[in-house]
Symmetry: C2
Subunit: 199 residues, 2 copies
């Protein structure tokens, strides 16, 4: 019998290093995968259907919403994005721990639908550090950085329903903490297992 995987909801301000932390944690374990979202935006050059996204049309998307097949969905720049429940369920059944990298509002939707999901929020060690990371990227104007910092503050203050908080001081430690949280959650007391062993 394969033990069902855990759904891991991961959020954190842009620039916190979420993906770097998760990829580092993935190096050490084969039981982690990202969820693949559906989107109505057209594929960009090099993007592969089923890898970056499942690319679908608006009619199919609306149908999925109607059939409650999306764990969460949102609209950005007139394109729709969502997390397909059947894909996630299939991975969980295979024993994979599935990571959803989503914003706080989407996280709240998913947690309501799947209360057994594990919620992890990643933060920078300070707002000054976040600013310096965003500046280091060199991709944003000073105004855009100010806006990101303001948005990060908002997200952090909305994040009080998360179960775990990882402060990303260095990637190695943060990845170990991420991995430890998943291992610990797999050890949640299971009364059926305990009873079975006692037989």
């Amino acid at each position: 019998m394969i033990k069902k995987g855990k759904l891991i909801i991961l959020s954190g301000p842009s620039g916190t290093g979420k993906s770097t932390v998760v990829f580092k944690a993935m190096e050490g374990r084969a039981d982690l995968c990202f969820s693949t979202s559906v989107t109505t935006r057209p594929p960009r050059s090099g993007e592969v259907d089923g890898r970056e996204y499942f690319f679908i049309d608006q009619a199919r998307f609306d149908k999925m919403v109607e059939n409650n097949e999306l764990l969460e969905h949102a609209c950005y720049v007139s394109n729709s994005y969502g997390t397909p429940r059947p894909f996630v369920e299939a991975q969980l059944q295979k024993g994979m721990n599935v990571i959803l990298d989503i914003e706080v509002q989407g996280a709240r939707q998913v947690k309501e639908k799947m209360p057994e999901a594990v919620t992890i929020f990643i933060m920078p060690p300070s707002m000054a550090e976040l600013r310096s990371r965003l500046e280091g990227r060199g991709t944003d104007t000073p105004e855009a950085i100010d806006a990101r910092i303001a948005r990060a503050r908002e997200e952090i203050l909305e994040a009080d329903f998360y179960e775990y908080l990882i402060v990303n001081r260095d990637v190695e430690t943060a990845a170990n903490e991420f991995s430890a949280i998943i291992s610990a959650e797999q050890c949640r007391f299971d009364p059926l297992l305990a009873k079975k062993i006692a037989e």
Copy 2:
């Protein structure tokens, strides 16, 4: 500011390999210590006050009970044993994660007094395996082993209030799980920390 340690309540049937698992986990981290109990039984040859136990007389013990200085206490073979709260608190304040290796009944007492304590139950992979480990020790009569197995079954069925379950199939894996649980618990969402970082 030192982050306060966690109180770890650890239980499991005799013969499950609890101490071996914990000592293995301790090799990799310096933030774990065992709680030292008080007892009214006289020290045995080689035992050092404050190491194996704090050796105290019955009057002092009764006073500690009266002053609510014991997190749990019990009587075996006309001697009294207890877990001194001031000792545990002092270690926690220093940032140490303090392990209480106690029975299910004592665990229930401590969890009521300190609900923030983390409760971990360790089990053998099967009752047959437990029997073979107890037989391998060569210290018990077949009748004593039967009694231990019966007691183990009872304990397992009383253990449903524990938060975590470790099945000790091999020491290395079990020690890693034990360590992961402590690391994960240290990442519990802390709204004050989140707020402080957002400032």
